[in-house]
C-alpha cells in the first residue's frame, strides 16, 4: 500500500515510519510540507496519507482542502499538535478521515491507521467502483 507521509519534522516522520513498518507498510513516500505533498501526490497516487498541520510554505489544512478538490476518496489522517476541539472539527470539515494528536504512543497511531483503512475498505466495498480516483 502506498502511503504519503507529510510532516516538516524528519524526527516525526521517522517515528511514524517505524509505526508503519511495524504494520508491514514500507511503500512510504515522505513530503516536508503541503506544497511538497501536492507536487508528489498525483504521481505517487497514495492510498493513505498522514498529514501534519503546522508546516512551513503550505500547512496541512490547506493541503487537505486543495487535495480534496481533486480527490475525495484518499483516506487522510491528520497527525498534529493541534488538540482543540474546534481544530478537529475544522479538519474533519476539510475532509480529514481521522485525527491523531501529538504526542501519541505507537499503539495509538497504529490503531488509528488500522481503523481508518478498515473504514475506507468498508466504504469502497459498499459503493460502486468510482470511474476515476
Amino acid at each position: 500500500m502506498r502511503i504519503l507521509l507529510v510532516d516538516d519534522s524528519k524526527t516525526m516522520r521517522n517515528i511514524q515510519k517505524a509505526v508503519l513498518a511495524q504494520l508491514g507498510h514500507t511503500d512510504v513516500l515522505e513530503a516536508c510540507d503541503g506544497q511538497d505533498a501536492l507536487s508528489k501526490a498525483p504521481a505517487f497516487k497514495p492510498e493513505l496519507m498522514l498529514v501534519d498541520w503546522n508546516m512551513p510554505n503550505m500547512d496541512g489544512l490547506t493541503f487537505v482542502k486543495t487535495w480534496r478538490q481533486q480527490n475525495k476518496s484518499t483516506p487522510i489522517i491528520m497527525v498534529t499538535t493541534e488538540a482543540e476541539k474546534s481544530r478537529v472539527i475544522e479538519a474533519i470539515k476539510a475532509g480529514v478521515n481521522n485525527y491523531v494528536v501529538k504526542p501519541f504512543t505507537p499503539d495509538l497511531l497504529s490503531q488509528r491507521i488500522q481503523e481508518t483503512l478498515q473504514r475506507a475498505a468498508a466504504q469502497a466495498a459498499a459503493q460502486p467502483a468510482p470511474t476515476a480516483a
Partner: protein, 166 residues
C-alpha cells in the same frame, strides 16, 4: 503572568515527555527571569499569536539536550547536527501545542519552531512581558520552559476598565 498560563505548560511537557520518551518530569517552583539573561546552550523557540501572543522557549544545556534527543529519536545526534535541531524543534512544537489547547476560551496559533544553538545566547523577547521560567527536572537533566506571553483579550479588557474608571 496568571497561573492559568503556567499550568498548561507543566501538564503539556509532562505529557509529551512521558508519552514520547517514558521520561518523568519533576517540576520545580516557577520564577520570573530577572532581566534578559542568557539562556543555556540550546533553545527551541515557538511564537504564539491570536488571543495570546509571545514566545515559548525550551532551554537546555548541550548534554541534557543530547540525552533527550537520543531518547526521542532512538539514536544519538551531536548538538548542531540538522537531525538534532529538528528533534528539539518538534519537542517545543508539541509542548506549545499541547499547552495552548489547555488555555481556556482562547484561540491561539503557533508558529513553526526555530532552534538556536551556542553557549549563553540571548533569546530577545517583548520587553513589556515578563518571562516565567518553569524548571523541569528529568533523569536526562533539567529543561527550562521560558514562557513570555501576554493575553491580548485580558489586556484589552483591562484597558477598557481603566478607561471607564478615568
Amino acid at each position: 503572568m496568571d497561573a492559568m498560563y503556567i499550568k498548561p505548560f507543566i501538564a503539556s511537557i509532562s505529557n509529551v515527555f512521558s508519552t514520547m520518551m517514558q521520561l518523568p518530569v519533576k517540576v520545580g517552583e516557577p520564577f520570573v527571569k530577572p532581566g534578559e539573561g542568557p539562556s543555556s546552550d540550546v533553545s527551541g523557540i515557538i511564537g504564539m499569536s491570536g488571543d495570546v501572543i509571545g514566545s515559548v522557549v525550551l532551554s537546555f544545556s548541550n548534554p541534557t539536550a543530547e540525552n533527550i534527543v537520543a531518547l526521542f529519536c532512538g539514536q544519538k545526534y551531536a548538538a548542531g547536527s540538522p537531525d538534532f535541531a529538528d528533534a528539539i524543534g518538534e519537542l517545543v512544537n508539541m509542548v506549545s501545542g499541547g499547552a495552548k489547547a489547555l488555555f481556556k476560551d482562547r484561540k491561539v496559533s503557533i508558529s513553526c519552531p526555530s532552534v538556536v544553538l551556542g553557549a549563553n545566547h540571548i533569546v530577545a523577547k517583548q520587553s513589556d512581558v515578563p518571562t516565567v521560567v518553569i524548571p523541569c527536572v528529568t533523569d536526562c537533566g533539567t529543561v527550562n520552559i521560558e514562557v513570555s506571553i501576554k493575553d491580548t483579550r485580558a489586556a484589552a479588557a483591562n484597558a477598557a476598565g481603566a478607561a471607564a474608571k478615568a
